[in-house]
Symmetry: none
Subunit: 184 residues, 4 copies
């Protein structure tokens, strides 16, 4: 791929992230305008609007996975787990808008997005494992439900446009449910 093409691809992705993050109903032309390229250039790089949305979504998931991978080697596994959890919830806003745009476009998820989702889930699973082995998280909580809780907390925080204090108190409740020493 040529250098200028790579450049443009990145600019388009960045623009799309911002535009769709702000409003799931945005048009492809808005993306082109913000990226400073012609509309046809967007379609050369992403032959379909759905593919563009998926690319943005995949990028988001991959970034989160990388962040999880970094934290997987932290000194304190418990702290790493909860920090990651909190970060995801805090940054969920625009990622969610993109997910909504995808479902609104009628696509459940492309191959790339599915793979990236699986990657994130696995990386998060490592964080959970280590936190459980270190005694920071109860051992009877399995990945599926904890992951669902992560998603839920993210969406809850976004949907209600939570103030930071309330969000933190909500997270405290979630964390308490995850800590060991419970009967359930």
């Amino acid at each position: 791929m040529r250098a200028d093409a790579r450049d443009n691809r990145l600019r388009i992705l960045t623009a799309a992230e911002e535009v769709f993050g702000a409003s799931p109903a945005a048009s492809t032309e808005d993306v082109a305008k913000l990226a400073g390229v012609g509309i046809a250039t967007v379609f050369r790089h992403f032959p379909t609007k759905v593919e563009l949305l998926e690319a943005v979504y995949t990028l988001r998931l991959e970034r989160l996975r990388d962040r999880a991978a970094e934290l997987a080697v932290a000194a304190d596994p418990g702290e790493a787990f909860f920090e990651f959890f909190g970060q995801v919830v805090a940054e969920a806003g625009s990622k969610l808008a993109i997910a909504e745009a995808l479902t609104a476009a009628g696509s459940v998820a492309g191959e790339d997005a599915r793979r990236a989702g699986a990657g994130l889930r696995q990386a998060f699973g490592e964080l959970l494992d280590r936190a459980q082995q270190s005694g920071a998280v109860r051992v009877d909580a399995a990945l599926p439900e904890v992951y669902a809780l992560l998603i839920g907390a993210s969406r809850g925080a976004t949907a209600t446009a939570l103030e930071p204090e309330v969000r933190n108190r909500m997270l405290a409740l979630v964390y308490d449910g995850l800590r060991p020493g419970r009967s359930s």
Copy 2:
């Protein structure tokens, strides 16, 4: 309002609930078709698509509020609270789609929807109060964060198309976080 007009209004609302619940990108004409009326009739009752969406959304919220009000006089306040919580999460699917349709249409929330939302929140607050007074829920959890948790759990369950078992395990984690006896 004439009797047939009232009839039509109800049929349109019912149809809209089903159509938008299935796909947030549905068109107003689809609603008219399912309701068995002409499209102009839909616009006579709801001068704008956003108003129709809000009416459906409001209806949903009011139904939940009524359900909460019923449970507010139940014998066991703790059981009532957790039952309501679980029901909301279980039925979240289509309501969520309507909320997405609203945000996709660029509308944050109309007056009616806001009022209905406040009503639901208040009714849920009563359930929470009584559960706290009965000792079933920790007293240091305030309505804002518990409500956010309710919304989040609903959305999380929907977004990931959770199987019932996983959903129940996730709810168990959430409930544990809400029970008294924690230091946080």
Copy 3:
């Protein structure tokens, strides 16, 4: 169907006949403009460009079939046959352009067009039968090849933008081949 809708449908068909007859590459918007309606009205009547083209084509075929049916009761079967043949060839120009537009659009032929084509072929077959029984046309010429000859003569006349005299001399050659008294 409402009166105004029927009116518009007819006006659209008429406009399409003229526009596509003049240039197979014409756009749907040109048709709308000539018909004096909005573009969406065209698409309401003919949900697809191909369907519009087929409707025009079908109309043409039906008109020819009707003309053949009229001539099928003429006093002189031979004269009727050759007159019809000549008329088809003379008027072939714009009909052909429509057929080209259809193939350019990637459609071979819709159900209606196929039926109309079969109708025309059958009506022409009657003319041929009667001409053969009256001794004006050789009896060893079957419908398939005579029909192919009709199409061919039409296309030949159109493709080369023949002057009337040349066209008549060409037809004379064709007619001679069709008359009885040959060995082939």
Copy 4:
């Protein structure tokens, strides 16, 4: 012109012949892809799509003219004439598609194509002359109408996707009309 440039020109022409022969609505990029060159190379050799189409068309006409020239020295002029006629009709399919692509593009014919057309017409005229002098074709048939008949038979055969048997029977009718011994 450099050797590789000449190579490319030929490969582009060959590819264009195949691509446009298959579908008149094909894009220039398809031609480049099949030719194995970049799209800009196509435009370097043929500055316009119409010019490319004309070049292909011209090539076809020239090949036919060469074939006619070969047959012009055959032993039996009558056989030569009818053989050429039949060959042209049999192979008309893809050439016709190219002619359609040209008219769809709004171009009647460029200088080269016109010259090539005239060349073919003249070569065919020689075949006709010799066939007439040898008594195989009636002498009162002039080139214009016979040529129109050739074109028409070609197009008719193609347009209706004729089976070989029917095509031959149609040709027999045409040939009978061309043979001497008729009064017309």
